[in-house]
């Protein structure tokens, strides 16, 4: 099967890429003094120690909670607005233009506004994550909804589908492939928004806050360890969890 062959090839490419990145890091560490750039193994040892501390898991838990809330809300809102906007010919182009304008604003730029609006706490971080993830989701769903095949819609109408049945049984499954692509793009945005918002807002423990703190006390091993955690987590969520969901939902395409 060609799928498994490409799967193995892409896995090998990933391993090679990781080795290459760590190699360049190590080369930099050889040329720079250790207080500026720690050796790879030093950071890995620190990471191992961190993995045994309760503090690390508290930060991880907080960050994941914010990500889940913001990203989840954005997916839900993006799917609903994308489907509704995509089926309403009258508002579609205006809505799309609005999204394109708003999406060009870096989500982190909203932090000062939400911080004052909602007060110091989890909420501004969650909302910034949601803003980052919402636009690509809504846009991809809307574009896909627009291009659902005419014959698929007509067939459902002829079979007597109600508007709700049409959305659930025809539009939603028809846009799923594009939705997943949009959701993966949205995850990248959400992740970037989460880490930067946590670094700026600095409310309670979190991956971003931990990174910012290490920087403030000039603990470069801490900085590199945190970056390592952020990179690995993003890769795991995107490549393992989201890819697996994608495969399950689009199984009919792989059969």
């Amino acid at each position: 099967m060609s799928n498994t062959v490409t799967g193995v090839a892409s896995k090998r490419a990933y391993v090679l890429a990781i080795v290459l990145i760590l190699f360049f890091w190590q080369v930099a560490a050889w040329f720079l003094p250790s207080f500026l750039m720690p050796d790879v193994h030093v950071a890995l040892i620190r990471l191992w120690r961190e993995l045994g501390s309760a503090e690390f898991y508290r930060g991880l838990g907080n960050s994941m909670g914010r990500l889940g809330a913001g990203y989840g809300a954005a997916l839900l809102a993006g799917i609903v607005l994308g489907l509704v906007g995509g089926t309403l010919n009258s508002v579609r182009s205006t809505l799309k233009a609005a999204i394109i304008i708003l999406q060009s604003i870096p989500s982190i730029a909203w932090v000062p506004l939400f911080l004052i609006l909602m007060g110091f706490g989890n909420m501004p971080i969650i909302v910034v994550v949601a803003v980052g993830a919402f636009f690509p989701t809504a846009l991809s769903v809307m574009n896909a909804t627009e291009s659902v095949e005419r014959v698929h819609i007509d067939a459902a109408r002829v079979m007597g589908a109600s508007r709700m049945q049409m959305l659930k049984r025809v539009y939603f499954p028809a846009v799923t492939p594009e939705l997943i692509t949009g959701a993966q793009l949205a995850f990248g945005n959400a992740w970037r928004a989460l880490i930067s918002a946590e670094m700026i807002v600095g409310f309670s423990a979190g991956l971003g806050k931990s990174l910012a703190y290490s920087g403030e006390i000039a603990d470069m091993t801490g900085v590199m360890t945190n970056i390592l955690v952020i990179a690995v987590l993003a890769a795991v969520i995107d490549q393992v969890i989201l890819e697996r969901i994608k495969y399950r939902l689009l199984r009919y395409q792989y059969l």
Binding site: E149, V151, H152, D154, A155, A156, R157, V158, M159, G160, A161, S162, Q165, R169, V170, P173, A174, T176, Y252, Q253, L255
Partner: protein, 258 residues
Amino acid sequence: MQLQFERVTKSFGDLKVIDTFDTTIRDGEIVALVGPSGCGKSTLLHMVAGLQHATDGQVKAEGRPVERPAPERTLVFQEHALYPWMTLRENVALALEFQGRPATEARKEACQWLARVKLDGFEDYHPHQVSGGMRQRCALARAFIARPKVLLLDEPFGALDALTRLTLQSVLKDLIEEERPTVVLVTHDVDEALYLADRVLVFSHRPARVLKEITLGHIPKTHDLSAFAGIRREVLSLLGIDTQAQETERQTEKGDVQ
């Protein structure tokens, strides 16, 4: 269910595709619409389905104007109308589920219909895993499961190879004989029209007008259409396909040959 076309005219902007079309289709009658491509035959079908509306005139089903789609008037499309994300069984069951039947019951009945079109064993396949002919069998099952009173067929076998088409025509004929819906068939295939229909309407190029109405009656027919050779030649000449025949016909009849 009786269908009436009353002075039906359809234009898209300045382009007139159908010009004052009038006919009545009796309950249980099988009518084929034959004509050059792009002449508006499919538009007529979509009007009966309630997917499109006449610019002028009216389409009536059982005396009432057709306003919107209803499962009692179902349409079989040329191809790609099955949902690729569903198995064949789910595709067929959907027609019942849309009418509020519980999913388990709908799927059970779908299996029976798939067996009737000889697709038993393929219930759990997805459309792209089976051949074009099998997809159209499934499309027929999906249309018939709702027990429509009017069956509209929009070049249902146009994308199939000649041999598969013949087989599918027989499958369709049997289903029609058993279920007895009123049938309107749009086709390019003159033989298909002669084989399936009780009455054939031959349309002109845009704007579509009826060039000729041929009443065959509801008689038993096989794929051996040699008994209809004369009619066949006439239809082909009206469509401007067989030029030799066209020349002969032209002397006997002042038809609107393009």
